[in-house]
Symmetry: C2
Subunit: 218 residues, 2 copies
């Protein structure tokens, strides 16, 4: 890569981090806990948010839905009464801090809430941009296979919590749980991993409880 | 985005297309048919290549394996006797033409072969870079959900063929096939879609036959 290209990339990362830090301070001031939700296309990010939100009735939850195009997930969330807003990147492969800064004006953020930011389905580029969050929640799924931590290390290395979704399909796929966890432990020795099923609801009581406790620690 | 950033991006695309075109001419000269294999992380790209390659015993097949890190898939392919080479991008979210230009020197490409290039698992960035290929083969899977053409339109729009994988899991997931196909038809009215299962081998006879016929037409 040419020196000019590298410099432009460095500029982009530095400017993004600067704005991310401003958003994060804004969240702190308002008592908002920011969660960056990351995973492959179809890992089950929206379904997981629905399962978590309904287990935290006393906490006001907001969702920023990031998609290249479409508002399918925002429509789904709003039908369930969730306060959700849409970002369409038009083609960009990740959300960045500027997009979040603009979109949170759509909400009247109240004290003691959680703002979930569902990122673009992408295990690579999304890992490189902080967007004001307090924690990164990675959604993996058993149907994607157990080798993902080895192939996409950065996102697993930076995870504050991992939800392994679609465990109801475990009997029908060749998922090597030990290999998956071993890959994670090398990168991120202490990250909690919850086994869940967006379809059956299994495992979400524990995950929601962890999230509530984590929120209080900030 | 600033003018400087846009100009750098335009430079990157133009330079990539220039090299892609050189590679494509090189392929033509050598009688090699180039297939860019694209899909989400865990869609089943490598498994599909194995199923296709074993159905074309008379065609010499080569595989370039693109990964951020690890050589898991290359090792698997080589164990099966497939002529495979690894590209590790180290962090980059897609393969580009320069990477391919370097890696094909690893093979002694012979007349009348197929070179499969398995791209990084990513439905966004990979769609924007031509890498010398004759066709783009998109691997989708039923476990990712039927809304993917609506959320990631570019990659489906540019597809020359789509393989819908993991149909053996259809009874256990909520996959709306009609909605999926409708989404594809809006973007790409005539693209062939083959329903396959990397696990059971279902559907690959037809897909391999299509590929052989397509190869002859170039």
């Amino acid at each position: 890569m040419s020196k000019a290209k590298i410099e432009v990339l460095e500029d982009i990362y530095a400017e993004n981090d600067r704005i991310s830090s401003i958003i994060n301070k804004e969240f702190d001031k308002k008592g908002i806990f920011g969660v960056n939700v990351l995973g492959s296309p179809g890992a089950g990010k929206t379904t997981i948010l629905i399962q978590l939100i309904k287990r935290m009735p006393d906490i006001k939850c907001y969702v920023v839905e990031g998609d290249i195009e479409s508002d399918i997930d925002t429509v789904t969330l709003r039908k369930l009464g969730v306060d959700a807003t849409q970002i369409n990147t038009g083609g960009a492969c990740h959300l960045d801090a500027v997009m979040i800064q603009k979109s949170i004006d759509d909400f009247e953020l109240k004290n003691d809430g959680i703002l979930f930011i569902e990122n673009i389905g992408n295990l690579v580029c999304t890992a490189e941009f902080n967007i004001g969050e307090h924690i990164k929640m990675i959604i993996a799924s058993v149907t994607e296979g157990s080798d993902k931590p080895y192939k996409y290390p950065l996102i697993f290395e930076n995870a504050d919590v991992i939800l392994l979704n679609k465990v109801d399909l475990m009997p029908y796929v060749d998922f090597d749980e030990e290999f998956f966890l071993k890959g994670i432990r090398v990168l991120n020795p202490h990250v909690p991993v919850f086994k869940v099923s967006g379809k059956t609801g299994e495992g979400f009581d524990e995950a929601a409880k962890w999230l509530e406790t984590k929120k209080k620690s900030y």
